[in-house]
């Protein structure tokens, strides 16, 4: 049976001595999508990538990558994937150009020199192409690393924190590359610490905590899990209780008071609560309103809340 997922893992486990790095990772990535793996330091993101790219063997569980069994058909998996790891993996003793030519040759690309020149140009490395890669800045190495993964278009691309430490221009370059790839049908699995990155690129997010997937969903689904933050600022302290009453009626959530700013807030998952409706209800109740806002949660809120839940 061929799987309809580009990556499908069930109960993947990996131990390093005492450390139980993965405790049953279940992951399903649809073809042609970008899956963002979010998680705090040590959550197991890199371990997951190393397992799925055949660099490590799982202690338990199974996975199919591009329809091939990870353990039984590693060669077939390797033919379908490309990987850019968390740490640079190009040869510092070779120049950028020599690195790309070597990988082009190993991929049996016709015209390795032309392919290398093309990629150097695309990733803004033409000027430094003939210097040893060890003299590159961190961001340049990162770009060379990604270029080396794109010698031929992979079916599935794994990126472990591809933009950590990059300046905005380099970051955009990499984001554009990811978007171009998915437009051409490549599946991308990327880990990141930057929630904005996941928000920008990922169709689906898997929140990993303590070696397991704690939550999955699209960025907006995950945000909906948390709910929006509603805040009302009133003119004087006497009506604060009245305002809280309205808010309670509307959201059913425990209100929190800020007596310095004369404000009351609550969190709601009710997506029908719009700002006009909020203002109308408050006005009808005779609350002298100074300011009202409904702020959608950021992925940062999601990340902090959900990782805290797992830790508790």
């Amino acid at each position: 049976m061929t799987s309809t997922y580009a990556v499908l893992s069930e109960g993947l486990e990996k131990r390093f001595g005492e450390v139980h790095a993965l405790r049953g990772l279940d992951l399903a990535v649809a073809p042609g999508t970008v899956c963002g793996i979010l998680g705090s330091n040590g959550a197991g993101k890199t371990t997951a990538v190393r397992l799925l790219t055949t660099l490590l063997r799982p202690d338990a569980g199974s996975a199919r990558v591009a329809g091939h069994d990870l353990v039984r058909e590693p060669e077939a998996v390797r033919r379908a994937i490309a990987v850019t790891g968390q740490y640079a993996s190009v040869d510092g003793d070779l120049t950028g150009r020599q690195n790309l030519r070597l990988f082009a040759r190993l991929h049996r690309v016709r015209g390795p020199a032309e392919r290398a020149a093309e990629l150097l140009d695309r990733f803004g490395l033409t000027e430094s192409a003939d210097r040893p890669a060890s003299t590159y800045s961190g961001g340049m190495r990162r770009r060379l690393d990604l270029a080396a993964s794109l010698i031929r278009r992979p079916e599935i691309l794994f990126l472990d924190e591809p933009t950590t430490g990059l300046d905005p221009a380099s970051r955009n370059l990499i984001w554009d590359a990811v978007r171009d790839l998915t437009a051409d049908g490549t599946t991308v699995l990327l880990t990141t610490q930057y929630l904005e990155e996941a928000d920008q690129l990922a169709h689906d997010i898997a929140l990993v905590a303590k070696g397991r997937v704690a939550h999955t969903g699209s960025p907006s689904q995950l945000k909906a899990l948390i709910g929006a933050h509603v805040e009302i600022v009133v003119a004087d302290a006497d009506v604060l209780a009245k305002a809280a009453g309205v808010l309670d009626q509307l959201t059913g959530a425990e209100p929190s008071f800020d007596h310095v700013r004369n404000s009351v807030g609550a969190v709601t998952r009710d997506t029908t609560l719009t700002l006009p409706r909020l203002v109308r209800e408050l006005d009808a109740a005779g609350v002298p309103l100074l300011d009202a806002s409904i702020r959608p949660p950021t992925l940062d809120d999601v990340f902090l809340r959900l990782t805290k839940e797992v830790a508790a």
């Binding site: 660099l55 993996s89 190009v90 510092g92 190993l106």
Partner: protein, 260 residues
């Protein structure tokens, strides 16, 4: 097989490119045996019973083999460096033959060793060393030397992939310096006490050194030596075969499996 040849050649090209980009280390490793030849040849030579020139002729094959044995250190260092820099990981995610990477490394190393022999032998000629037998036998001697280097490099690659540490490679480099001291590379083993002599003569370096001295015609095969030294060519071939049969599969397996 053609896959192995293709990938191995690409990896070989990479090693040679690396050396061309950073020639400093190569120059250093090549000057070492020349320095030792001059130092040992003139300082020790004057203290030994052997006449100076005769000792220097005796020393040239010994230093060639001692230098070849450094393949353990070089192989280990390069393999550990690749692991450390993440290059090994990237290569391991490519659909290439599992033996191509270590094979490319070892063949490149043999080629560099062959090139490095030229200046050393020129200095040897300058201090009195000669090929006393036929050119064919001399070529055989050099072939045996390179085969030995090929074998020691595989030991190094295995150890480098095992320890994954450049520091460990550096430490072990110091330790491999001992190996030729426990052989007939610098001194004849005939004068050693019984058990030490046996130990030294079962050192692979002794068999290869004796074979070289025999094929170049620098010194006769010693009387009453242990089997590998008494039959130096067969002994050398036996050692190379054993080392390769053990360490080449271990290295390839280690490369294929990574850290677990």
């Amino acid at each position: 097989m053609s896959m192995l040849a293709h990938d191995g050649t690409a990896m070989l090209g990479r090693q040679l490119q690396r050396i061309r980009n950073t020639p400093g280390l190569l120059i250093l490793t090549q000057t070492m045996p020349i320095t030792m030849l001059l130092f040992f040849g003139y300082v020790f030579g004057s203290a030994l019973a052997m006449p100076g020139e005769e000792y220097r002729s005796f020393l040239v094959p010994g230093l060639l083999v001692a230098t070849a044995a450094n393949g353990i250190m070089t192989g280990m260092f390069q393999a550990a460096q690749d692991v450390h820099r993440g290059v090994t990981d990237r290569l391991r995610t490519l659909p290439i033959n599992r033996a191509a990477v270590p094979l490319g490394q070892s063949v490149a190393d043999v080629m560099v060793t062959a090139a490095g022999m030229v200046p050393f032998l020129l200095v040897g000629l300058a201090v009195g060393w000669r090929v006393e037998k036929s050119p064919l036998q001399a070529v055989g001697a050099l072939g045996l030397l390179l085969l030995f280097r090929f074998a020691t490099t595989w030991i190094g690659i295995f150890l480098g992939l095992l320890t994954r540490s450049e520091e460990a490679a550096g430490q072990l480099g110091g330790a491999t310096f001992i190996l030729p001291l426990l052989s007939n590379a610098y001194i004849p083993t005939e004068g050693l006490p019984g058990w030490l002599r046996t130990l030294a003569e079962w050192n692979p370096i002794s068999a290869v050194t004796t074979a070289l001295r025999d094929l170049f015609g620098n010194a006769p095969v010693p009387e009453g030596a242990a089997w590998p030294v008494a039959h130096p060519i067969a002994g050398s071939l036996m050692w190379c075969a054993v080392l390769l049969a053990v360490f080449a599969p271990l290295a390839v397996r280690r490369y294929a499996h990574g850290e677990g």
